[in-house]
């Protein structure tokens, strides 16, 4: 990797001759090396799933969550440098809180995503700070219905029907494209998300992982919450079955 930038990659304030800002691209690499996060926007809500790699058997289960709640109706999942992500979560929560204080209305998913995107972009302009090494999935249900956005370290953001980030994103995207997303309900999507995360988990390179699943949908009264334990257990059971049958096919 060293040598690709050849001197134009030392600072975010430098363009390369072919118009690239290498520091921002390198931030994207940090995201690509992290474990996978997947989200689907369904008919009635948004579902998040994160593959949380377990680095030590001593870790308390359920501590150090990767899925956060920004506002009651908006959820957040990140891939990349998780300490960078913490700063983004706090900023997003502030934005949502002040928006509601001033405008007397919960912030819409699009406006929040745009504010996070502008925040990311502002860290790509200066030499004394570095870009965020996280890609962020922001999803929730507002007056316009369920919405899902992904914000990249450059500050670019798009709305998605389904999206995956992290090391398993290629395989996950292939799986996601097979789904008929416009007809999925959140209940069904929970199983699909679990299955996809299990499928893209690399048993060889990585060891154990914990699956984090959350949703914002009509069943959860349009509030962001972790998927109830029984639904999650069922989804994981089906996912494990799917992985085993795929392994036996191979």
């Amino acid at each position: 990797m060293a040598g690709i930038g050849s001197g134009y990659d030392l600072s975010a304030t430098t363009f390369s001759p072919d118009g690239r800002v290498f520091q921002v691209e390198y931030a994207g690499k940090a995201v690509e090396n992290s474990s996978t996060a997947v989200a689907i926007r369904c008919k009635d809500g948004v579902v998040f799933g994160v593959e949380k790699l377990i680095v030590s058997k001593m870790l308390v289960e359920g501590s150090n969550k990767r899925i956060h709640t920004i506002a009651p109706h908006i959820g957040y999942a990140a891939a990349g440098l998780l300490s960078d992500s913490r700063k983004v979560v706090n900023k997003a929560r502030d934005e949502a809180k002040y928006y509601k204080d001033y405008y007397a209305d919960p912030i819409s998913v699009k406006v929040l995503s745009e504010r996070v995107a502008n925040f990311f972009q502002s860290y790509t302009l200066y030499g004394h700070i570095r870009p965020f090494g996280t890609s962020v999935l922001v999803g929730g249900v507002d007056r316009k219905g369920p919405q899902l956005y992904m914000v990249e370290p450059s500050g670019v953001y798009y709305g998605y029907h389904a999206v995956a980030v992290g090391k398993g994103k290629q395989a996950a995207k292939t799986e996601l494209e097979k789904l008929k997303i416009s007809q999925l309900t959140c209940r069904e999507a929970v199983n699909e998300v679990a299955r996809i995360v299990y499928l893209v988990h690399d048993d060889v390179k990585d060891k154990d992982f914990e699956l984090e699943l959350s949703w914002v949908c009509s069943e959860s009264n349009n509030q962001h919450q972790f998927v109830p334990a029984d639904l999650k257990a069922e989804a994981e059971r089906l996912a494990q079955q799917a992985v085993e049958s795929k392994m036996s096919d191979d």
Partner: protein, 242 residues
């Protein structure tokens, strides 16, 4: 205007310091006149009524400085966005300042969210200004239409309390029509019934309150836009006239 303090005698008129440059205290100085110095006040009668599909707002047209009617045809119904209006009562300067500031913020907000603002957003912003600046004398009624909540009426009192009501009355003239409004308001009135209710109530207020008078201005706001009407003083409904 200027103050000369040479051989000055300073006195307080209506709470404002006025300097007289004459030792002859019998000479009438324009600057001592109450109506030259008092801030513009809007005694006022204002009102807003929500109906299914929109809102009708109304106001009188009298602005006073002391007992002089500075403007007998004023427009107290001020738009802060295309379909959100504020009925202003209290200090003319304070309410103009607050509405113009909020009109600016609301427009920026509307550009960010990409659609017309909610009535409750406009009301909340105004409430912040009134609450944070308690020296202002502004008592406001916000009436408007947005596509999510339909017609809404919000009332902001002097201290900055905000309440959502099916209808609201305000200003000095409103004291005289609480009974009339309580007796004659019915929920689920039609647009025409609301307009008549507003014109009748304001006429009664203007008949009894010295600080209210002139014409009755109304605005009816719904999904299609704003329709403004004016009823001249000599065409207002007459109730018991002795």
């Amino acid at each position: 205007w200027y103050q000369r303090r040479v051989r000055g005698v300073s006195e307080r008129v209506e709470g404002r310091k006025v300097f007289s440059n004459s030792l002859d205290v019998k000479k009438m100085d324009l600057r001592e006149m109450e109506w030259m110095n008092k801030a513009h006040d809007m005694g006022t009668s204002i009102m807003a009524v929500a109906y299914n599909g929109g809102v009708v707002i109304g106001a009188d047209s009298r602005t006073t400085t002391g007992s002089y009617i500075a403007n007998r045809v004023s427009d107290k119904l001020t738009p802060i966005s295309e379909k959100i209006y504020v009925c202003r009562s209290g200090s003319a300067a304070d309410t103009q300042f607050a509405s113009e500031l909020i009109r600016y913020y609301l427009e920026s907000h509307s550009t960010e969210i990409g659609e017309p603002p909610l009535v409750k957003t406009g009301a909340n912003l105004l409430r912040h200004i009134v609450y944070m600046n308690k020296h202002l004398m502004a008592s406001l009624i916000i009436g408007g239409w947005d596509k999510y909540e339909g017609g809404s009426v919000y009332c902001i009192s002097l201290g900055g309390t905000i309440t959502k009501e099916p209808f609201a009355i305000g200003g000095s003239g409103s004291s005289y029509i609480y009974g009339y409004c309580d007796a004659n308001y019915k929920p689920n009135m039609t647009r025409d019934e609301c307009e008549k209710f507003v014109v009748n109530a304001l006429s009664l207020a203007m008949a009894r309150d010295g600080s209210s008078g002139g014409v009755v201005r109304t605005a009816t706001i719904d999904a299609n836009g704003v329709e403004r009407k004016m009823v001249p003083g000599n065409q207002l409904p007459i109730f018991w006239a002795g």
